[in-house]
Symmetry: C2
Amino acid sequence: MEKNNVTRDSANRPTTHPCPPDHSDGNGVFPVCPVPHAANQTIQMAHGGGGRRSRELLENCFLSAFANPALNFLHDGAVLEVGEETLAFSTDSHVVSPLFFPGGDIGKLAVWGTVNDLLMCGAQPLWLSAGFILEEGLPMETLQRVVDSMRTAALESGVTLVTGDTKVVDRGKGDGLYINTSGIGRIACREVGPARIRPGDAVLISGDLARHGIAVMALREGLDFENEIASDCACLARPVQALFEAGIDVHCLRDLTRGGLASALVEIATDTCMDCRIEETSISVDPTVRGACELLGLDPLHVANEGRFVAFLPPEQAEKACSILATFESSVAIIGTVTPSSPDTRGRVILKSPIGVDRIVDMLSGEQLPRIC
Amino acid sequence: MEKNNVTRDSANRPTTHPCPPDHSDGNGVFPVCPVPHAANQTIQMAHGGGGRRSRELLENCFLSAFANPALNFLHDGAVLEVGEETLAFSTDSHVVSPLFFPGGDIGKLAVWGTVNDLLMCGAQPLWLSAGFILEEGLPMETLQRVVDSMRTAALESGVTLVTGDTKVVDRGKGDGLYINTSGIGRIACREVGPARIRPGDAVLISGDLARHGIAVMALREGLDFENEIASDCACLARPVQALFEAGIDVHCLRDLTRGGLASALVEIATDTCMDCRIEETSISVDPTVRGACELLGLDPLHVANEGRFVAFLPPEQAEKACSILATFESSVAIIGTVTPSSPDTRGRVILKSPIGVDRIVDMLSGEQLPRIC
């Protein structure tokens, strides 16, 4: 039985969007924002951070302009019907700084970022486009390294780069290079997305958190740790395909990029109007990464990853899914469960701390780690 | 009968690429380039100009890395088979400066640029993605104007924006905003592309030349002409669809963007190993635009357009095609014909001047009009 007055169709999808996203405290009261109004009238770094400001920009500027049933600005890709086929279509621009970092580079991010977004739609990634914006003066050798890295990344993930474009901007109007990739994938038969999430679903994460953000940030800030922190940057094709091949009835997948686990779960909770209850002790963070987070004043839940995803699936399949994912990555864990939200709140993310205290997890309002992907 | 030793299959396609593009004078001698070697080792503005440098970058860096049968970096889009359907897939980044200019803005360019590329593949444009790279400090009102313009442009061309992404870069690492759009279109039944060009084909252009480049350049340089020059920026869906609906057997289409008519024809001549003979007197350039070109030392053949295309089609259908296109734009003209290239040369573009002298048209080596689209 629904407890939050949401009407649903036979497939348990909300028949109208039951709770258009707002950012009130659940009682219609908006938090007071310390940023002066004038600052809202220009683009701030926080608008690109994957947190609340990003979401506001999308809702206020883009969604209102381009409203249509297929539009999926807020999720990983759009689902399109072409004849008898169902395709996923996704796009991502990459502006990471610096271009090369322990564990990856902008080329790998650009290929795997879009490949992973297609996988999160339940699609088999097939084709990519690449649009390069190069800054005058970029060493040709740098471009070649990035292109070689993209080539390797594409081969590894089984996608083919089929079309591209190159633009050059004058010195001082870019930062070396920016890359957009867009991708097309084929969705076989399963629908994967927030609409399939049910109360009782188990919530899994596919590895430890916060490596990518901390690896880039440490390099950028010149921080030197005893053990080098490498990005988790990876193609998620093999673990995701392994889940499907084993017959796991995956309800929803989401990769944990900008905004980290917190943003991903808050978005899903908001969109489904269901609560997501997770346990902090189940979430693995490497000790060096945790130390770096403490040093930098960052919460690992908000830090970007580039090779981790969260999966929602039937609780009876959770253990099996964990063992499958554990063959690819250690620290795979069932971190929580989906529950109906109480009638007086919208979907929330509730984190139980190690001492047993519940706290509400929210998206970041400001910018924590700029240009992380 | 082939006169240039090219082997062809039953559909008259080269069975192997008969003349891998080189930039020699036809006898294997490369022109001496006055640019010192060191300059080749960094990205120059000319690498984004759509001329020879752009082509070199594509061939040397991208094509060698991503070689695969579907790759269509040099043309307007890739053609993909999905089940029973044939799709076109195209991408373009837009970095035009300034963002708004007489006759258009970056939003219209971004939507129509990709829509037009899909049309040039013989596809009906269906879906677009949009990737925004915003510079910190961009006025929100500017972004809203651009987004509103994209919305109108998408409505006008019948495409739906289905997925998007926004990144923010720090102040001084961008120039307001850059937009990538990628698009998917459906190819009904006709193959349209250089492989279908035949000796004897008529060459048509869909209007007068050089408006876009001069409109942007005049604004940027603060040039004031008696009659304002507006960009030709337009969606080409209606004229292109009118050709198909009238049963014109269009062999090849190419929009005349960066690098202008010259680059488009040289690329096609090179790729087909056929000559393209055109007459300067048939090519229309508005007197104010021509005056501006002379003032700025520009050849209208090399100046960018954003609403013009060249069509290759059977000569017996050329007049009919002209009358169809003339309902959308004045100055539509048959400007020349395709001929087999002589055995000792690769495909060339030969322009007959008003006084009857032939000259070889080539791509530009340097940069003429940076950041024009």
